[in-house]
Amino acid sequence: MITAGIDIGSITAKAALIEDNRLLGTRLQFTGYNAQKAGKSVLEELIAQSGVQREQIALVVSTGYGRNSVDFADKAITEITCHGAGAHFIDPETRFVIDVGGQDSKVIKIDAAGKVLDFAMNDKCAAGTGRFLEVMARAMEADLDDFGEISARADNPASISSICTVFAESEVISLISKGETRENMIAGIHESVASRISAMARRVGVTDPVMMTGGVARNPGVVRALEKKLGVEIRVSAHAQLNGAIGAALLAARMQQAV
């Protein structure tokens, strides 16, 4: 049996196919302004690339902020539940998920079966999200993809005290004019993101082992800063951005089996 999961995030749309508890294929593309269209096309492309037929897909579950706009999905499930299931599938030892995406971040505590025990979300504010990093990269005229590597060379991370993205940006600009090194500034930015996320994680209570997912998990600078703040080792998911879609496809399979 094949099932599909579609995760419509604010920046990227993801899809995953699962066959008999095995990952068949995944796809990621930009969401654009039309979430409904993005959901349709990401699945179509994935179908084409995996060589399966649409009719073979028994059930589709949508998730992410655009989950309710995927009108052909059989069910919409929140990203919280899907991330729990996805992380459990990728690494069954996982008991805590930190997901940092473009516009939001969330922490999820799960049990040995991947079931959600508690969660917290930050989606009111850009601080502690990928968006914050993007704004800072622009202020520094740097490429976000290099952030992790550059920050590894910092000797004394700058302190960015503002939580607010707008204020932090002007803080960075004044650090630039003071001649602070890029390495230290970027490391400081990572620490700022990490402290925001670790505060949220502590509210729920971190349980080892911790898995990190979402686009920001690809930035080793943030991962290192978070490990330091939380005092735990963080396992970065091999499918960082696809975790929600994979979880959705798994939950679809479970639903199908239940019928």
Binding site: Y65, R67, N68, D71, A73, D74, K75, A76, I77, T78, E79, I80, T81, K115, V116, L117, D118, F119, M121, D123, K124, R203
Partner: protein
Amino acid sequence: MAENEKKHDPEKEKRKIQAVSRMKEIMTDYYIEAKGAREKGRKVAWITSGGPVEPLIAMDVIPVYPENHGAMIGASKMGAQLCEQAEEMGYSRDLCSYARADIGDAVAKTGPIGGLPEPDMLVCCNNICGTVLKWYETAARFFNVPLFILDTPFIHREFTDSARKYVLAQIYEYISFLETHCGRKMDYERMEEVGRLSVEATQLWQSVLDTCAHKPAPMTAFDAFFHLALIVTLRGTQVTVDYYRQLLDELNDRIDRGIAMVPNEKYRLLWDNLPVWYRTRWLSDKFAGHDAALVADTYTSAWSGMLPEMNGQSFLEAMSETYTKVYINISIDRMFDIVAGMIQKYDVDGMVMHSNRSCKPYSLGQYDLRQMIMDRLGVPTLIIEADMVDERNFSESQIDTRIDAFMETLKS
């Protein structure tokens, strides 16, 4: 498709509470009377929601509640606009939105009833918060009227004897304040009669809320938010007693006939903090879509929690304790005891806390309280962030996701 889609519900009409129309009548009459008070030579006092209203009724002064008015502004979705008015005057956006909306409306008079009737005097009790002190001081300057402040000490552990004496002394000062500004002596017999009616109404209100212990619940907290208005504004009057008796009869009848407010009630939730006045319908549909009923809340029960322990005291004496012990004037440990009691009484599956940007005394400590509830009672608890009146602090898609995710964990 999405499970939280609104279900088409032709049965909805049948489930409406009939007493609602009577309630609207009473509130309309009340506001008409208050607005016409000047011409009839009657005095109007503005009073805080947790303030002792009974002496006003006994002195034939019409009590007016800016907070109730604030709720009305919120429910009419005029909150943001009037808050902005106050912000233009220089008030901070961090100030409670009841205060901002009322201050805005006192000047602009563009709210749902075109401005509250102007006060002849102000009565402020700080058992609910410190905001009201400054708010009422501003109002006293703006309207140039006398202000009485009743200071109720915060209860960390016990209500001490010195606290009792301290508050009681002020209650007598309060009476002389009223006597001075009404130009007439207090009739203590009438005072006790008003007290008796107040106690009776409070007991009835508790019974009304208690009907939700029944499964399925004949009403939800969203109904309680509406029916609350009388126990806040007019406790101590016969009309309130009569109304709650009528409502109680209707709810008992619903229980007998098996009428539930949420048709397929499966999950029973407890709500904490003030309502989100401009989104009660949306939230109510949202939870009902998950077969969840908010069967109780800490907010509307705060007024039944004001039931005095008479122990042979006069009503005035009992008032000292009653008004000091209100829900948000007590420590988190005492709050926990109350919440734990409610969880048991109403057999609750989960708790939803509204972290209210406006009401700091109510929202401060919610994260600790949540932890205590989850650790000691194992009851899943969700926090949603919003504001009771200022809709600029409400994000639908965020709250939607939180509620869906919470309900998914409850169901799994």
